[in-house]
Symmetry: C2
C-alpha cells in the first residue's frame, strides 16, 4: 500500500489508515482525505476484487472516508500511478486502493439496490425537483438557476427542439413519474401517450395528471414502449436509452419508424460516451442493472437503417454534473429521513453513486446527448436554431 501511494503522480493529499492505526501517506503535507480501511478482510476484498468490492465495502462501513468522498475519487482518478491502466473512475479509485488487476466478481453479496430496498416514490420526492420529478439532466439556461428552474427550462428546451404545438400527438418512451408528459399537455396543449413499465411510477403519474385535470390529454400506459401502437407527430424519450441496451437500438428505431408520421419529429435525451466502454460494474450491479451509455456512433443504429436525419445534437455534460450536485445537496439535507426510511447502508450507497456520477460527468467519462431527428425527406425543418434561444421566458 505504501509502495502504491508512493507511485502516485503529484503526491496527492491522500492518506490511508489501516485497522491497526498505521497511517500511510502519499503526500508531503497534511492529507485532504483519509481512507480508513477497517480490517485485514476489507483490504483483502479490495485487493482481490476492487471493482465491485470497494463500493460494497463503503456501503457496509468496512472502509470510511474522512473528507469528501468526491475528493478522494477525484484525487485517485487524476493522479493514479502510471502502471494502473486507464479505466472507469471507479476502477481508478479501486486501482488506488488496491493496486491489483481487475478480477472477476464473485456471487453478489448485496442485492442490487432497487431489489434489496423497496425504493419508493417518497424517497425520490425528497431530493428531486418538486414540480416535475425529473430524474434526468436539467438545463441551466442562466447561471444562477435552481434545479427547479433548470428542470422547467429542460422541459421547455425539449419541447422547443420538437417544435411542439397544440394538438400534436406525442409518443413518449420511458416516462418516469410522467412530468414531461404533463408538461407537454399543460404548457403546449399536446396529447401524450407515455409508456413505462414501473407500476409505482405510473400510479404517481396518473394521480398527478388527474389532480391537475390533464387526464384527457395524457395517457400513461403500463407497457413496454415496443408495444406502442398508433400514429404520432412526435416521438420523445428522455433518459430511457441508457436502459435499452445496444443490441436493441435497431428495434427502437423500428418502433419510431412504425409510429411516426411523415412529418413527425423525434428527440432522444440520453447519457452517453465519447468512446465505447462498459458501464462501471458497481453502478451497473447495484444502481442501474443493464445500463449502457452509448456513443453517438453506436446510436446511429437507431437512425441509419430507417433514413432518419439527425438535425441537431447537443452535449449537456456539465449540466448533468450540476444537476447531480444539486440532487446530492438535497439528498444530504434529507439524509436523516432517508436513514429512517431505509438504513445507513442505503444512505451510503446513494452518496457513493451521486458523488461518483458527479465525478464521471466532470471528468468527461460520461456525456449527455440530446438528439433531434426526423425523416430524411421531410423538408419542414427550422431554418436555424435561433428559436431555441430567442423566445419569451
Amino acid at each position: 500500500m505504501r509502495k502504491f501511494l508512493a507511485a502516485m503522480r503529484n503526491h496527492p493529499p491522500i492518506a490511508v489508515e489501516l485497522w491497526d492505526g498505521e497511517r500511510i501517506s502519499a503526500c508531503k503535507g497534511p492529507p485532504e482525505v483519509v481512507l480508513h480501511i477497517k480490517s485485514r478482510g476489507a483490504l483483502w476484498g479490495i485487493v482481490t476484487n476492487p471493482d465491485l468490492y470497494f463500493g460494497d465495502a463503503y456501503i457496509v462501513g468496512a472502509v470510511e472516508v474522512e473528507g469528501r468522498l468526491l475528493r478522494l475519487i477525484e484525487l485517485a482518478s487524476n493522479n493514479r500511478p502510471d502502471f494502473i491502466k486507464e479505466s472507469t473512475w471507479f476502477g481508478k479509485l479501486m486501482g488506488l486502493v488496491a493496486g491489483a488487476p481487475r478480477v472477476n466478481t464473485p456471487e453478489d453479496a448485496i442485492e442490487n439496490i432497487h431489489h434489496h430496498y423497496d425504493v419508493s416514490n417518497e424517497f425520490y420526492q425528497l431530493w428531486l425537483d418538486r414540480d416535475h420529478m425529473q430524474y434526468t439532466c436539467a438545463y441551466y439556461d442562466h447561471p444562477d438557476a435552481t434545479v427547479e428552474e433548470a428542470q422547467t427550462a429542460k422541459l421547455h428546451h425539449v419541447c422547443r427542439k420538437l417544435r411542439l404545438k397544440p394538438g400534436d400527438r406525442v409518443l413518449e418512451a420511458g416516462c418516469g413519474w410522467g412530468g414531461l408528459a404533463r408538461f407537454m399537455a399543460r404548457e403546449y396543449g399536446a396529447h401524450v401517450r407515455a409508456y413505462n413499465i414501473s407500476h409505482q411510477q405510473l400510479v404517481f403519474a396518473r394521480d398527478k395528471a388527474r389532480a391537475e385535470g390533464l387526464d384527457e390529454l395524457v395517457e400513461y400506459r403500463e407497457a413496454d414502449y415496443r408495444d406502442a401502437t398508433g400514429e404520432y407527430d412526435v416521438f420523445v424519450s428522455v433518459g430511457m436509452l441508457e436502459h435499452v441496451g445496444k443490441a436493441n437500438y435497431r428495434e427502437l428505431g423500428g418502433v419510431v419508424d412504425r409510429c411516426l408520421t411523415a412529418e413527425g419529429r423525434g428527440l432522444i435525451h440520453t447519457i452517453g460516451r465519447n468512446r465505447p466502454r462498459v458501464m462501471n460494474r458497481w453502478i451497473e450491479k447495484r444502481i442501474f442493472p443493464g445500463a449502457y451509455p452509448p456513443t453517438l456512433g453506436e446510436m446511429s443504429e437507431i437512425f441509419e437503417p430507417y433514413d432518419f436525419s439527425v438535425l441537431d445534437v447537443e452535449n449537456l455534460r456539465l449540466h448533468y454534473e450540476r444537476t447531480l450536485d444539486d440532487w446530492r445537496q438535497c439528498f444530504e439535507a434529507s439524509r436523516d429521513t432517508v436513514r429512517e426510511m431505509f438504513d445507513e447502508r442505503f444512505v451510503r450507497a446513494w452518496r457513493l453513486y451521486l458523488e461518483g456520477s458527479i465525478h464521471a460527468f466532470r471528468n468527461g467519462d460520461l456525456q449527455l446527448f440530446q438528439i433531434v431527428f426526423q425523416r430524411g425527406r421531410n423538408n419542414d425543418v427550422p431554418w436555424t436554431r435561433e428559436h431555441l434561444y430567442r423566445h419569451d421566458r
Copy 2:
C-alpha cells in the same frame, strides 16, 4: 420505354421524344418536361449503362431536356416505378430513362471534368461569392440573405462555434481559395496555417492575403494536411472531409489529436448522409473523383479513438440547397462567358451537376453537417449555444 413510363406512379408530366419524332408520354395532360433522345445509340447507351451514360449523353447533347433539368430529375426521382429499386437521385433518373439494371461502367469515354478542362480560378470567380470565394454551403441566417451575406454569416457561424479569439493558432485542413483563413485573421485576429494541395488555389489565396495585408497572420502551405506540424488552439476543416475517404478517418483524427492543445476546439463541416451509400457514379467520375459523403456513424471513427467529445452537431441541408441554387443562377447568368472559356459540353456538365446537387439536398439524399468537438476532459465548454444567436450582427 412506353411501358416504363406507364409504370411510373402518379402519371408525372414527362414525355420522351425519340430521334424519329415519336413521342411517348406518361401523363394525361401536357408534359412539363420533354426528354429528347437523339439517336438509337443514345437510347442503347442509356439502357445498357444508365448510371454513367445519361450524364455523358446530356453533356454531349445526345439527349436534350426541354424544360428545367431539375424538374425532370425531381419527377423521375419522386415517381419512379416500384420495380426500380431505390438508388441515388441519379440512379433514379437513369431508372426512368432506361428501366435497366445497373451495369458496370466501361472505360471512360470522357475524362473527369477537372482533368479534361483546366478549371481555373477565373471560372469559379464567375459564380462563387466575391468576398470569400466559398465553394461550400452558406448559412442564410435571415430569410432574404444573398449568397454573399450568407457566406459571410457562415464564416461567422463557424468562428463563433469555435469561440475564436485574437491570438488563437488555427490549423485549417483543406482551405480552397483561403477565404476562411483570411476571415479568421482579419475579423478575429487569429493566426492561421492552412493546408491545401491545389497549387492554383494557393497562388490565389496568397495573392489575396498579401493584398489585404494579412500575410503576417495567414500562412498557406502547399502540402497534405497529414503533414501538419506544430501545436494549435483550433482545428477547422470546411468541405474537405468529403474528399478524405472513409478509410482515412482514423488517421485524420490522429492528426487532430497530435496537433490540438488540451484546451483546443475543433470543427468539421462536411457533406454527409443519413445512411451509408456510395456517391453517385457520374458525379464521382466527372466532378469529384474519390468523393464520399459519410454518415455521422461513419464519422465517429474520427472522434472515438481519441476521446474527442462531440459538443454540437447541426444539419444545414436546406441551406446547401439554397446555396446551390444561388450558385446556379450566377452560373447561368455567366454561361456565355463559361462557354467562351471552355465549350458547350462544359456548360452542360456543370449545369447537370448543380441541378442534380440541388435535388440531392432538397430530397434528403445528402446532408450538411457541422460538428464541433474538443477533448473529452476539457471542461471549458460554452454553457449554452445562445452565444451563436445573441450577438451583434
